[in-house]
Symmetry: C2
Subunit: 200 residues, 2 copies
Amino acid sequence: MTAIETAPPGAPAEGTRARVERAALDLFTLRGFEQVTTDEVADAAGISRRTFFRYFATKADAVWGDFAAHVTRLDELLAATDPAQPVLASVCAAYVEVNDYAVAELPLLRERMLLILTEPALLAHSQLRFAEVDRVVARHVAGRSGTAATDLVPRLVAATTRAAATTAFEAWLADERSALGTHLRQAFAELTAGFPGLLR
Amino acid sequence: MTAIETAPPGAPAEGTRARVERAALDLFTLRGFEQVTTDEVADAAGISRRTFFRYFATKADAVWGDFAAHVTRLDELLAATDPAQPVLASVCAAYVEVNDYAVAELPLLRERMLLILTEPALLAHSQLRFAEVDRVVARHVAGRSGTAATDLVPRLVAATTRAAATTAFEAWLADERSALGTHLRQAFAELTAGFPGLLR
DNA sequence: TGCCCCGTGGCACCCGGTGTCATTAGCCTC
DNA sequence: GAGGCTAATGACACCGGGTGCCACGGGGCA
């Protein structure tokens, strides 16, 4: 692996993070997350191992992109929902909207989510990232329903809607040609109606 | 840390695993999971670090006890449910029953679950163990509903009921004097009814 | 007595992650 | 234009989880 346009020290290093993400995604997809060392990723991105860990706190974080921004956007979408409609509907709508990606971004999203939901180490790590989402959702439900964010119902809504969203992602990944929004809407419909599909 | 009754090599080593579990649980609870090294756990249990990793594949596994047996029992309970009642009700009932612990076991369960749901590293690891549960549940739902275990609904039921159960566990841990079964039943009631508690 | 089996411990090694320090480039000021 | 500050980088040493390998030693068996 030879370095691609090695950045000089002290330089602005614009776009280094994105370059590392690409290198990591490529290698992980090609050979598997655990089979690739951080040394190899750093090398492919033209930086040192030490610098890799300055851009990403953990090896797993290189797969997630700017997830914090994603969570922030979900939070904003929740805050902007119509207070007249039921809370649960607001949460589902916000989930659908925050996952309404442009067509050009879909291949990257597929690559990321395929790794996250397929590789055991990344699946384990996902719990920590998704916990941030749960907190945001639970806080919103609590605010809207006049309860505490630590109460059962707000946390229940957060945990189950997130589980439903994750399952929808899995279904989307399994079907190359389907639309993510369709799976999300179907999953939320089943969930909010108490799984009527099981009463055949 | 001095060794407690060091087992001689070649000996049957009866009860060693249980002794290691106790030592691990004690140390993790006392000082935190990440702050305790496997060397210390092994030392406290009177074995070598190398032997620790023969009893437990990972440091986290020392907290889980015989979880595989737990999953097997859930599987059996699911198989024994009344086929006449709705599948979702069967799953919830099996969840409640598999978590109906004897009073004497509750302190140990509390200690385990508090660690698992509180320590980030253990929370991440839990996703891997819970995935086994999800597979069992999804398989049962698929069998009962005439669908494939990879379809959306079976996986949805597995993921959301498990999320509800985990949330119930959190509520139980937060309230020292409450009964686990109560939280589980309440969580499942909310879930299967589509969260009627939010329509105030 | 001699043999095999197997649980064990010791050792070296890999890899993820962290603290520390020296280097270097860009920039700002005098 | 020289000097000094800042920030990104890389090299190095170190820690801890996890693994492969081998040697030991006791119990059971022929």
